[in-house]
């Protein structure tokens, strides 16, 4: 995963930049943004299924985080990412509520960037839509476990720590979640849960 950070940025790196960002040091906040935006974007993309919408939300998340960083008390990478994802979750829910009221605002006709062939772009966009719709049908725990493991690339122990559940529960949750997703996304597959 391109955003694997722990090796590049040791714990002390986050302590220092978080402290400086809390003092409204914009350069420090920009460093934190550079270190984390890919993972936050992956989460947003998986939830909303649209590249353009995920990019809009990415900006909203970091602007909200900038406003609130003064009262963020965490000192580790995990705490910071978890906090950003909490903001991201709130932004996604806001978007879903707005879409419910104004369905015409859905932006799935916006081209997916980074895909050379327009047909590939359409395929990718449709698949993203399907994946985000399927994720919406999971329980919150199931959704969080697959997002943490597969989109954010956390290992079993890290996921267990972030979600406050034991490793056995995480294994069971991810099995049920993937079985459910496979049933939704692959016609003819039975639910293994």
């Amino acid at each position: 995963m391109p955003n694997a950070l722990p090796d590049e940025n040791p714990a002390s790196w986050y302590v220092e930049w978080l402290d400086r960002a809390r003092q409204q040091d914009r350069h420090a906040f920009a460093q934190l943004y550079d270190a984390t935006y890919r993972r936050v974007f992956g989460y947003l993309l998986a939830r909303v299924g649209e590249q353009a919408a995920a990019e809009d939300l990415l900006q909203d998340v970091y602007l909200a985080a900038l406003q609130a960083i003064g009262r963020f008390r965490g000192r580790t990478e995990g705490e910071f990412i978890g906090w950003l994802l909490k903001i991201a979750h709130a932004k996604v829910m806001d978007r879903f509520r707005t879409q419910y009221r104004h369905p015409e605002l859905k932006t799935s006709d916006v081209a997916t960037t980074g895909v050379a062939d327009p047909l590939d772009a359409i395929d990718q966009r449709m698949r993203l839509d399907e994946i985000s719709d399927a994720l919406s049908q999971l329980t919150e725990d199931q959704r969080n476990v697959v997002l943490n493991r597969l989109v954010l690339g956390l290992d079993l122990e890290e996921t267990s720590k972030v979600m406050g559940k034991n490793v056995g529960s995480i294994k069971a949750l991810q099995h049920r979640a993937l079985a459910h997703l496979a049933k939704i996304l692959t016609p003819g597959v039975d639910d293994h849960a």
Partner: protein
Amino acid sequence: MRKAEDVLETYLAQMVSGEPVAGTDSDLQPMLRVAMQLRQVGRIAPSPARVERIRVALRRVPTREAGARSTTPRLGFWRRPVAGLAFAMILMALGTTSALAAPSALPDSPLYPVRNVREAVQVQLAGTAAQRAILYANFAAERATQLRRLIGRKDVTPGVVVTLLRDITSRVHQANQEATADGPAARSAVSQVEGQIGDQLTQVQQEGEFSGNDGAQLSNTLRDVQSGQSGQSGPSGPSGPSGQSGGSSNTDTNQP
């Protein structure tokens, strides 16, 4: 024999660490295909131009004072008595009778704007985010009670229902924002009031015959109240009595 969950985990661990996944159990293949698709979603990056635009925006956007707890701009300490005095003068100008009648005025009354101003001043004079949260929640609850009574008496003027519901929604959003800024105790208190509002609106839904804008607004408000109770309320509603639009939702905890 290993459990399916353990076998799946073996393959997922290989996938997450970037190793090739080979020789999989055929029962697990659909699940692993889905897992692979999710991994691919995690590899999609935002456009470089957008990344840069956000970086620039983060450098330029003005911030509130570090550690600010509320999304609602507040008056300075010394200005609050001044605001109170100004409000008192407004009340005198409007006449005592009007001022006393304003708290229960309905949207079709000329005193309804006075009610809104009165509430806005009460909020501005509140000392803490928790007090503001409770005020907003109570203002919403008062309107829900009024609406239920109106529906019960079949005494509804066109437009009143939509305005009351819209104002309930905005106050619930404000209450949740202030409660989130304050902490769990305020959230719990607001959640209790939201429960009462939800009950009132459910009765309204059962007793009334709604269609068009009224029906849609009722469904939206009820959903917002219920989502506020479950801690998912956000700033999608219109402006509250202080005239401020919503800001960010909950940003205080650490779970995705």
